[in-house]
């Protein structure tokens, strides 16, 4: 009954984020997480304004041996503790991996790498408050509610009753009947969602006033200015998102299953992806975007060191997702498939990289067996390897991907090339079907070996493979 994003929906209450203890959502989010269970001290909290609260006593080491996680963690803390974070140094550290057992570290670093947090530490709190309010504004303005399209309750019953907007929530409970046919409920449908939304009804009234409906508008209108037409288009996008969100990481309780927490998480995914689709009409929602949003959301939602961040995970992940998409969006765009920047061009670059690194392998795959890179690497690239590796391994790969000074696409292509080189012997011995199977179901692998190979590719302009 309470809206977990209630605080976001009420920009007039910015103080909300600084009082996490009062919010039941915090316990819910933290308790439902499968986050790293280390007992180590937390990383510097995002919104801490007390300078003494961050472990700034660590001395900045000149070189950090990869074998010493404690030293690596200290190096991160040192960089993060300075007034202006040295992004170059942070990238260098993150590229070699962010220690998993250092609680709260990766969420902060990723927010920096993905541009949500500026390097200036003093601005963090203000920036986060502004961005989270901005997201709340998006939600409010972009999600059409049929209730506000109709003038009278009679009109409301006429058509849209069967299409309750699952992205909208009403703390008043007035929508409970129309929400009944949503499989895992609307946002407000689960008491586990927590997070009270004291101002939601006021904001709904504001939305009604803002829409300023014409008397000619009705559910069957085909006019391009019809709010109803826009609403039904939205429903189509929402249904696609809904189907995919329901199928996001079916193996993880965080996203899947009947629990109230999972339902809340799915509701957040749906809304964030829908807001993105509305803000990017040329792209809308494309299958696979859920896979890029999910790791970001999971990371922020399960951060045990940052209760306000847990509460704002949907919003924070949204902006980070936008940053990620600024690099990868062309891969999702059908109109660019045959351009020099679309997915086909990137696949051709991969093919070229494989050829440069290992002519024999390339010859075998592409010439002899006609295994087009599109058959396997389309998913590798568009989903940034999230489906090829376990969730923790994918997070590790993303540490490098997000921080690579050479760029994320280049990093991704090197990782893909490294993946092929890593199984080259099997590929050279396999036939078409077994190789397709191998590449579409990449075997469990120590990702550090993939990263090493990718690094070797970076250092050498042309690589001679000695396997």
């Amino acid at each position: 009954m309470a809206d977990p994003l209630g605080a976001l929906a009420v920009p007039t209450e910015p103080q909300k984020t600084t009082e996490p203890e009062d919010d039941p959502l915090v316990q819910h989010g933290g308790g439902g997480s499968a986050a790293t269970a280390s007992q180590q001290p937390p990383a510097a909290p995002l919104t801490s304004s007390a300078p003494g609260s961050s472990p700034s006593s660590a001395v900045l080491p000149l070189a950090v041996p990869a074998q010493l996680p404690a030293a690596r963690a200290a190096a991160f803390q040192a960089v993060l503790a300075s007034e202006v974070v040295d992004m170059q140094r942070l990238r260098a550290l993150a590229f070699d991996g962010i220690p998993d057992n250092e609680r709260g570290l990766r969420p902060v670093v990723w927010r920096l790498l993905l541009g949500l947090l500026p390097p200036e530490r003093a601005q963090w709190e203000r920036v986060l408050r502004r961005r989270r309010a901005e997201y709340a504004q998006f939600c409010e303005e972009l999600i059409l509610d049929p209730k506000h399209l109709a003038h009278t309750p009679a009109n409301l019953e006429a058509a849209p009753g069967s299409h309750p907007n699952p992205l909208l929530s009403h703390s008043s409970g007035a929508s409970s009947s129309s929400a009944a046919n949503s499989d895992d409920g609307v946002l407000g449908g689960h008491s586990g969602g927590g997070g009270g939304a004291p101002g939601a009804s006021e904001s709904a009234a504001g939305a009604l006033a803002r829409l300023a409906l014409s008397h000619d508008d009705h559910p069957l209108s085909t006019s391009s200015s019809s709010r109803w037409k826009a609403y039904f288009q939205d429903v189509e996008v929402q249904e696609q998102i809904e189907r995919d969100v329901a199928r996001t990481h079916p193996d993880m309780h965080f996203f899947s299953g009947a629990s109230g927490a999972a339902a809340t998480h799915r509701a957040h995914l749906r809304r964030a992806l829908f807001v993105f689709a509305k803000l990017n009409p040329g792209l809308r929602y494309v299958q696979g975007m859920n896979e890029l949003y999910a790791p970001l959301y999971w990371l922020y939602r399960t951060d045990p060191c940052d209760p306000p961040g847990v509460e704002a995970a949907e919003a924070d992940a949204f902006f980070c997702f936008c940053d990620l998409m600024s690099e990868f969006r062309d891969h999702f765009c059908q109109q660019l498939d045959n351009s020099t920047v679309g997915i086909r061009a990137t696949l051709a670059r991969l093919s070229g990289a494989v050829r440069a690194a290992d002519e024999e392998l390339w010859e075998h795959l592409e010439r002899a067996q006609r295994i087009n890179a599109q058959f396997y690497a389309f998913r590798w690239i568009t989903l940034a390897l999230t489906q090829e590796f376990s969730f923790p391994d994918a997070m590790r790969l993303w540490d490098s991907l997000l921080s690579d000074p050479a760029g994320r696409t280049d990093c991704l292509l090197r990782l893909c090339t490294a993946m092929l080189l890593h199984v080259r012997q099997q590929l050279l011995e396999g036939d078409f079907a077994s190789n397709m199977k191998l590449l579409q179901n990449y075997p469990p692998t120590d990702v550090s070996l993939i990263l090493q190979r990718a690094e070797a590719l970076k250092r050498m302009k042309s690589v001679i493979v000695l396997d």
Partner: protein, 214 residues
């Protein structure tokens, strides 16, 4: 017939049939394929790009390798999936009986794609009405599906990948029909199964042809 099936002769896979699964997103293409290839059912992630599975089946004592291409359903992927139609001898058009719009898409989208990009003239098309277990949410009747399939010269079967209803039969029937099409039928093709009348008649034609093929 030059060889007796089961006569001790070890045969390698010497025939490959290419089968393509198409249809709207979320109708259960991947689940059908998973059920057919492994016998299992689980919640699957949406297919991005294309998925591929190979399975060797026994057709009248001969081993036929099926290469099955499972495509992504969303419109965005269509420019990319068009190439997968090339050389497909069997095309499975899947819809979800609980979502009428996925049925409408067969005529509006998928049959057109087949016509546009398919390269095998004798290509066998099969309409699969999936999710027959969702009886209460059904929006497309069996009759509608059957009529549509007939009108477009397609085989028709209702399945439930989840309930394991008729999935193997669907693929089996398709494979037999592909073998029947004359384009890629294995030498010494035998029919073990009972057929509907018109199919049995066609099978006789095939058996007559078989002797001429090397």
């Amino acid at each position: 017939m030059e060889q007796q099936p089961g006569g001790g002769l070890v045969l390698n896979v010497d025939h490959t049939f290419k089968i393509l699964l198409v249809g709207d997103s979320g109708v259960g293409k991947s689940s059908l394929l998973l059920r057919f290839s492994t016998g299992g059912f689980e919640e699957l992630v949406p297919t991005i790009g294309v998925d591929f599975k190979a399975k060797v089946v026994d057709v009248g004592g001969k081993k036929v390798k099926l290469t099955i291409w499972d495509t992504a359903g969303q419109e965005r992927f269509r420019t990319l999936t068009s190439s997968y139609y090339r050389g497909a001898q069997g095309i499975v058009l899947v819809y979800d009986v609980s979502r009428a719009e996925t049925f409408d898409s067969l005529a509006d989208i998928w049959l057109r794609e087949v016509d546009m990009y398919g390269t095998v003239e004798e290509c066998i098309k099969m309409v699969v009405a999936n999710k027959s277990d969702l009886a209460e949410q059904r929006e497309v009747s069996r009759e509608m599906g059957l009529q549509f399939a007939k009108a477009h010269g397609c085989l028709f079967v209702e399945t439930s990948a989840k309930g394991n209803v008729a999935v193997d039969q669907a693929f089996e029937e398709l494979v037999h029909k592909v073998g029947d099409s004359g384009d890629a039928q294995p030498a010494g093709f035998h029919w073990q199964h009972l057929w509907a009348e018109e199919q049995a008649a066609a099978a006789v034609v095939v058996l007559l042809r078989v002797g001429c093929r090397s």
